[in-house]
Point group: C4
Chain length 203, copies 4
């Protein structure tokens, strides 16, 4: 299998997982309420959760391509690791709904924890995928840029710890934990807006 086919399959899972997020928003507005306007305003955590998860999945999609741009060939282990990663990505809509539904109620702690742990495992799989491909330049392209390779390793390693830390915050304050997930996504957008125009992305 060529890296291109893996990318096409991964693109599909990323796109579907992101688009399915709207079903959570849809489920949050039943329409049985007396006043639709009030109900729509009251559902604001659903919109916020939708935006945070959509952007987070979008960022992960960009990251996956950053990885694949350095990969020249794939083996079966690499495919299995990618299937594990995509299994996590496709899981994201579930904890997203939990946070949107429960952040204002008694289940806030469990919901924030579920979201954070999902992201932690996803970030671990990202590292597994990348380290397997890059260790000893196992699957890298012959002309892979060593500076870019080292940069990816550096930027992926803290991922699991950041999300695990944000998840643990849920025990003290689920709201603070949810705000951290929002901040992580926002940070990336702000950082891209400030510095993301400097250089064109390589393919």
């Amino acid at each position: 299998m060529s890296p291109g086919r893996l990318e096409a399959f991964a693109d599909g899972v990323f796109a579907i997982a992101a688009t399915l997020l709207i079903l959570n928003v849809d489920g949050a507005v039943g329409g049985e309420g007396i006043d639709l306007g009030t109900e729509l305003r009251h559902a604001w955590p659903s919109y916020l959760a939708y935006a945070v998860s959509f952007v987070t999945i979008g960022i992960m999609w960009v990251n996956h391509h950053t990885v694949m741009a350095q990969v020249g060939r794939v083996d079966r282990r690499f495919l299995v690791a990618n299937i594990g990663l995509l299994m996590c990505i496709a899981f994201v809509p579930f904890p997203t709904r939990l946070v949107a539904e429960h952040i204002r109620g008694a289940g806030a702690e469990s919901a924030a924890l579920a979201f954070g742990l999902t992201m932690t495992v996803t970030a671990i799989f990202f590292n597994v995928v990348w380290l397997y491909a890059s260790r000893g330049e196992r699957l890298l392209r012959a002309d892979a840029d060593r500076r870019v390779v080292a940069g990816i390793t550096r930027s992926y390693l803290p991922g699991p710890w950041i999300y695990f830390g944000a998840a643990l915050v849920a025990f003290a304050s689920p709201e603070a934990s949810a705000l951290l997930y929002l901040a992580i996504a926002a940070l990336y957008v702000v950082e891209s807006s400030l510095f993301g125009g400097r250089s064109t992305l390589e393919d």
Copy 2:
């Protein structure tokens, strides 16, 4: 990342968002009614809303390709802007259901407003994506046609205002507002049917 990969991901989101619209129609016919025929006839706003949103998403898909046909490379800011645009596209099935369900009831104003504001924000993101790419020919292909570039800018700029205007009409008459959304989609189809055969689309 090459423009081609962004297009493939965007195509996925457009196709899924459009296809998910059928879930709204499906939800509108519960099957618990005594007479299925009556229920099916009574659900006509769902069919109309389905058609309007499907065609609108279809038009936006065509527009996105018109943009990408002029783009020669992408940077991280451009990707983030596109993720924002796709976040709006994937949101469309939700206000579509609201309009279909509530246009004949007390929630008509809120529903028509929600649809119009979603379209307004979508049209704003279309302008952000395009203006970022075209300002100073930042991301355009070396051989981009200046006449086509100016034409796209001219045709996208009024978009947010048209949808915002149609949204505001909801305060006076939600039905009129919904008819305007239908008219915008119909206009494009009629205009394409009259003039869309003149020249082949460039790729």
Copy 3:
């Protein structure tokens, strides 16, 4: 836009519409019944409807490629006609559920009618798409095979009438109508199995 991009978008809608059909089967087995085995056996119309619609969408996907293989360029009218066709394809899961749910009950006539009319309109759009592309060889490839072109026209023209006829049968007997939809799909499979191995498909 190149024909290839239209094909990619269309492939997405075909694949998603077909895969969403499983949600109908899923909805038919609530799991609240006392005995799951009995419930699963009782849901047989859902499996049959799933198979008939999946195969029918699959056949239409093959037919769409047969069309696109002769098309050398696209214009805006052709895109709009295709969006109309895809709007019908994405609609199929809805009447499929109606038939599966109501074929044994009072709504059988309405359900069979809804399915047949959906298929009739889909077949009409197939003809619109093809006739627009092929009339005067408007959008055909320079090297399009006249024999193949005439063959497609001949085989598409009766489509709407066949499905409309099968739909009208619903007034006399909804079960007979449903059996006709099954027979149309089965006929194609049998015919392909008998003669479909003779020549390789052109691309």
Copy 4:
């Protein structure tokens, strides 16, 4: 039609079927319970079923590419056989939910049986697709590797029997049957981890 287009359509169905599995997990946690944490812990069969089915579909996706890598052209019979295969793949989310929901209840036997029979029929279609393409090298590439071709035939033939056997175990013990489905997926992952790094996959 080129093998590439069939692959793209198949990739779509595989990706959507896998991503839709999350709807089962979502449905298992209603959120009406008093304590979300307890509810989340109690839903563990849903997570396990999600993982097993996602990995199983992922493996089948890899297998489908292994087949297509040897195929040089397609005919109509081959397409029909592939539509049958994809119909089975898209069916998987349904029995997955049944097992997750009923494995601890009275419906365990029926659920395990439904899952196993779905997998058996899927494995049969895999053999049909492969044997049709490879018999007498009917659709194989001119440069297809005879050793690889013989290897695929050898490794696919036992598939239906393994899954049928695991399905029959459900009559004695549904839990044992479910564990076997898990073991089959786990075995592939372990085997790939041990030996899957040896050689690069051919395209």
